[in-house]
Symmetry: C2
Subunit: 225 residues, 2 copies
Amino acid sequence: MINFEALYKLTYGIYLISSGNKSRGNGFISNTFFQVTSEPPRFASCCNKDNYTAEVIQKSGAYAVSVIPQDIPADIISRFGYKSGRDFDKLEGMELAYGETGVPIVLNEAIAYLECRVIQTIDVGTHLMFIGELVQAELLDNTREPLTYLYYRQVRKAFAPKNAPTYIDKSKLESTEPKIKAARYQCTACGYIYDDAVEEIKFADLPDDWTCPNCGTAKEDFIEI
Amino acid sequence: MINFEALYKLTYGIYLISSGNKSRGNGFISNTFFQVTSEPPRFASCCNKDNYTAEVIQKSGAYAVSVIPQDIPADIISRFGYKSGRDFDKLEGMELAYGETGVPIVLNEAIAYLECRVIQTIDVGTHLMFIGELVQAELLDNTREPLTYLYYRQVRKAFAPKNAPTYIDKSKLESTEPKIKAARYQCTACGYIYDDAVEEIKFADLPDDWTCPNCGTAKEDFIEI
């Protein structure tokens, strides 16, 4: 028996992982980045094979990880987490540094960053796991709290997208939440739920240019659930 | 340049990982367990090659993960996190269930558990990474918060031991903390610091049977730092 609610008790950070070079790069939002050895410091990062960043990391042989804060603006989450870099250059206009390996590091809002050189690529099914050796690490801001997946779900009320290792199909959850009669609307990009029962303004009365407070998706891309 | 302080901005949960069978099992405390794919649900767990549990997982081909709460008693952390199962049976006297693969699952204090069958073992250097497919998952307690590495460091004031993937040699930190003149004593097992400057009772005046509030180690095993 698998009770998928149990999986929500696992703890993850949320990071912006980037790769590429000065002429073309890409990045995505990941909650699967973690240290695997201390001597030497090695890390692992999982990326869906369908993600453009997986291609870019394979080509570059390196990646950078920006640790992002709890209060990161919605447009950065939207740009990197819910859109594909095949369609546009996600790094254009961002504040970038270039690492020792040449990969772009996204500095906007970052409280720390790490740069890893890929030493092993492991096929774990739908995802590739990139084992990387630490090349550099820097702390930029010791005051803001790093964004965690728990905070993302509980406070920002959003969920992992389909390509994430931790995606959970909601139909698999044996929800213990009471059923609320008021209408609820869900962002089709990030899963954010707008609940008429708890909000001051009904969804229908929100202005047309209102966007998802979590990921910046347009009001018209919400569906009633 | 590697600033090891940056590594403290990464987020981890802390888990009790067990393996073996009814006649002999073992377990350890780990902060490197995470989901790597969602379809099917697969997970990865890193274990130091020197840890007895690494041997046991390789023999059993499966492992269980108990999600432990913030307020887990010090004696369980001490038993599983800072002692070797080669010297005694860590599971003796614990409240156990046995999974579909036959591995012991530690239920004491657990707020959820998962059971994984190993499908791939990857050598990442000092550690082995066990990729496991989810066999079962159960939620036991939806009220207590899971223990995180941040909470372990900031509230319980302890550190990862030498065998952990996230161990950081303190001499590598460019500490920005002010130097305190009062005597400080450190637990040689878990790194917990008793600081005379902030405690009501001086370390020397604590009773001889006083033990580390984090891991239960005897007073005599503290050293002045």
